[in-house]
Symmetry: C2
Subunit: 542 residues, 2 copies
């Protein structure tokens, strides 16, 4: 039973890339027309900072950038005619720079909400760039009173409550809310609670797409005044859809599945990789295949993001490379249908040895020789990246990066690291998930014990705890911020716990020079986790 | 005419490294005793967050870290006996985490100021970590009423005014205020204005020493109620000194020269480099010498920071290296008295060419081959860094890094980049300054036209505007945030201006993986300037 007296609300769950003012503006204008003319919407809702993309970061310190946004807003305002109202996120300079939701109708701005709650945690720096709003914003649209809030506002009690106190019958939240594992459920619970607390439906519109270290998962939804979901758009995909008021006063629409578990994680990686590669002007990628699972999964992500024809794989065997690794690498490439190349590095290794031997004399063989190999491979891959005009993908995972089990300027080379925030144990889970959709990562690779193959008979587990143990420790330490002594992991003794935590701190310098990757957990290395490099705190008080 | 009825104030202008809780605590305890017993001080003042170092960043999210700070504070409190009062900066958890100035006397905490103004601009993330204080803090010390403020507080009107309204006769500001060119004068002007506005003297105590991307320059000082400087400690050096009240009611002491111009800039680089290298557990460094001015000046900084015996220089000639470069590099090393090594890379270049030629076939020679050379050098230097246990210093300057005139994983390799925030034109000025103190950078190097020598007859100015033009543009664009059309540089046409600005944006990806360096200008690359990598904003609207 649709209520024809209430506004039809169109959600423009689209990607709005950072800094793409011209394209974003045109898309907003086109979407306003489509929502009005094709979907008969009364209201069309765009995500937070749709005009500029989110987060524009220090571009917001530049008056020329803000002036260009203003010029865009004038064009958008002029397009909002013919009975439609649009809510558009944009940064505006009004008593300081504001993170605003501008409401346009009849060819002009009719109202404006300034984001009141400015997050300065996790990946967010809103306090760096914005002045907080103070007042609620409620507008009339097709006979209904609509409260407008911006992203973080819906996570705090006051903004929705104030809007309702000002007469709002429905609260709108426009967002650029980054994904992490479990976030869609968390977000829904918070919004449902807000709806119940205020006795009004909430319509939650989210951005979609990858931007540098974050990916927005879409999944825009509506809840009724009891907090029940009445509509949901798909995860990680663009969609323009209408929600309309029905029984009980909620806004209804199709209810897509909520993005969760391995499917959501995998989609996050694919979407982030595609948008990073394309957003930086590359059409394809090159990557090293070692015969191990990280590079095989990275290749699968790349293929799903870009297409097999746009992925070039390179195997660079050394004398420590087992025949099995060559076979597995080739099989991985064949399974995915990507081009496969081999560059033996033995000659280059010998050449470095010759060149450096006068300066190495008297020193024992150590990790140096392993790093030289990894850096020869990094140099070769970067050379192919440069020569072919393809972005290099780094294949490292979060577990390795946490403890520094990676070579800076070696296997850490790359424009983007799709698995940067994926624990090794999740690498296995993702490979299994992806294989269930169709063959991608050969079983032989999944079954093999992890090895860096930088010296004879090397196994990851000679230097590190078993990955299930390591990952459990890291999850508790990084994501839960548990004190060292509150870490509880079966099979982890205190000395080993301390050793791992020390490694975590000591390798901050490597992570500071690491390629960007996408946040998919509660706490990702990068802008989400800001640690000193130089630090006397070892993390471990033994 | 010293006023014996007023407190003798000791300033502990010391370095307090981040995370060094045990050492910092012991040093505070020892200093309290020295100030009391040797200097007969009534009050001893430590910098902002002296216990933890500043900024501890996300260590502040960890309860074990905060608990360890609390334990330190108990020990410090117990040591403040025998008539002395101590003002100690530390993070404390009280209704959220606070950036506090704790006042200890008679073996216990007698008062506490919470930082009220939390900066979230430039390098600062205080809003990420702290809850703001609301109230002023005024304590009685030896018969005087002393208002206590924390760093940013003194840059705003309210905190000092509120303290004076509460009876403060003198305002104390404890700081960890990072240096940039011109900052000491700016700081003094602000503090003098605050003193005049409130009609009270201000005693300003600053941290000293390098921490990652910032360096604190010390230069603690006092101004009287008219804003005149009545005492000043030295710049960039540790000092424990007493200020005592004299005629007119100001606090007097020796007046050291204010750190300014090239001497200050050079000292900033030396201090930051020394503290970064030592703070990360290295005793010495290795660096590449190219025969150019950047690496020669970097070597001079390293020698002044660490001593000539702790600096190893490596020249890695290719077929494009002029004999002159070899001669100049050797002369630079000889002038500084540092070890000098040569590693010809021609053989390795040929080997990469052989290995890659099947995959390069059909593609013209381009910048790829130049990058391979730079990365061979990076690999060799990192190998020596690994083998010898020395930190690699990168020699790149700010002008190059701005426009991407550097090879990622090549000459950009390094644990620290001393000149990262130094414009090329200032590299010349610094070399001249340093040579005036004693021979460091051979004149032949200063006089030579800059070249990367990565291909035949290459000159920087074939790809870039003359450095004076480039640097003037960068200063206006980066430091002043001038809109593109307001840039005014003699000899720069609009097309060239646009080309440079586009390069600036397009090379953000390189800077994101660059080695850390120390901020010495108003706007440094790194945590001081946060830009998206993926961005549709080219900076230039042509």
């Amino acid at each position: 039973m649709v209520d024809p007296t209430a506004p039809r609300i169109a959600i423009a769950q689209y990607a709005f890339p950072v800094g793409e003012l011209e394209a974003n503006t045109q898309r907003i204008i086109d979407t306003v027309a489509a929502a009005r003319d094709e979907l008969q919407a009364d209201l069309v809702v765009f995500p937070e900072l749709a005009v500029s993309g989110y987060p524009p970061d220090d571009l917001l310190l530049r008056s020329d950038f803000l002036a260009a946004v203003e010029a865009s807003l004038e064009r958008i305002a002029a397009a909002c005619t013919g009975g439609i109202t649009a809510v558009v996120g944009a940064p505006v300079e009004r008593g300081g720079v504001r993170n605003a939701a501008l409401v346009f109708a009849q060819g002009r701005e009719v109202a404006c909400a300034f984001k009141r709650c400015l997050p300065s945690y996790s990946v967010f720096d809103d306090n760096r760039h914005f002045v907080a709003g103070q007042a609620p914003c409620v507008v009339s649209v097709a006979g209904s009173r609509v409260g407008v809030t911006v992203c973080e506002d819906i996570w705090a009690p006051a903004p929705a409550a104030d809007a309702v106190a000002d007469g709002a019958e429905v609260v709108l939240a426009i967002n650029a809310s980054p994904f992490h594992d479990g976030k869609p459920a968390e977000r829904q619970a918070v919004v449902a609670g807000r709806a119940r607390a205020n006795g009004v439906p909430v319509v939650y519109a989210n951005m979609v797409g990858g931007h540098d270290e974050v990916v927005y998962d879409g999944g825009s939804f509506a809840v009724d005044a009891q907090g029940s979901v009445t509509a949901r758009l798909s995860g990680f995909a663009e969609e323009l859809a209408v929600f309309e008021r029905g029984e009980g006063g909620g806004w209804f629409g199709g209810i897509a599945e909520r993005a969760e578990g391995m499917p959501a994680l995998y989609q996050a990686l694919v979407r982030a990789t595609a948008d990073y590669v394309h957003g930086n002007g590359f059409s394809g990628v090159v990557l090293g295949l070692s015969g191990g699972i990280d590079s095989a999964l990275t290749a699968a992500v790349a293929v799903d993001a870009l297409g097999a024809a746009r992925v070039q794989a390179v195997m660079m065997p050394s004398p420590y490379t087992a025949q099995r690794s060559l076979d597995d690498a080739r099989a991985a490439a064949e399974t995915l249908g990507i081009a496969y190349h081999e560059i033996p590095i033995e000659g280059m290794m010998a050449d470095y040895e010759r060149a450096l031997s006068p300066l190495f004399s008297g020193y024992p063989v150590d990790v140096t020789e392993e790093n030289i190999q990894a850096r020869i491979r990094g140099n070769c891959l970067m050379a192919l990246s440069n020569k072919w005009g393809l972005m290099l993908l780094a294949a490292g995972n979060k577990s390795e990066l946490a403890v520094g089990y990676a070579t800076l300027y070696g296997d850490m080379c790359g424009g983007f690291a799709p698995l940067k925030d994926v624990y090794k144990t999740d690498v296995y889970r993702l490979a299994a998930y992806r294989n269930a959709l169709g063959p991608a990562v050969p079983e032989a690779i999944i079954e093999r014990e992890p090895t860096a193959e930088l010296r004879a008979d090397q196994r990851d587990q000679d230097s590190l705890p078993p990955y299930p143990v390591l990952d459990a420790l890291l999850r508790q330490y990084l994501e839960e911020e548990r004190p060292e002594h509150a870490i509880e992991v079966d099979g982890l003794d205190p000395a080993e716990r301390c050793r791992v935590i020390r490694l975590l701190y000591r390798n901050e310098y490597k992570r500071r020079q690491a390629a960007p990757g996408v946040k998919v957990t509660r706490r990702a290395f990068g802008r989400d986790r800001r640690y000193p490099i130089t630090s006397g705190w070892s993390g471990c008080q033994q």
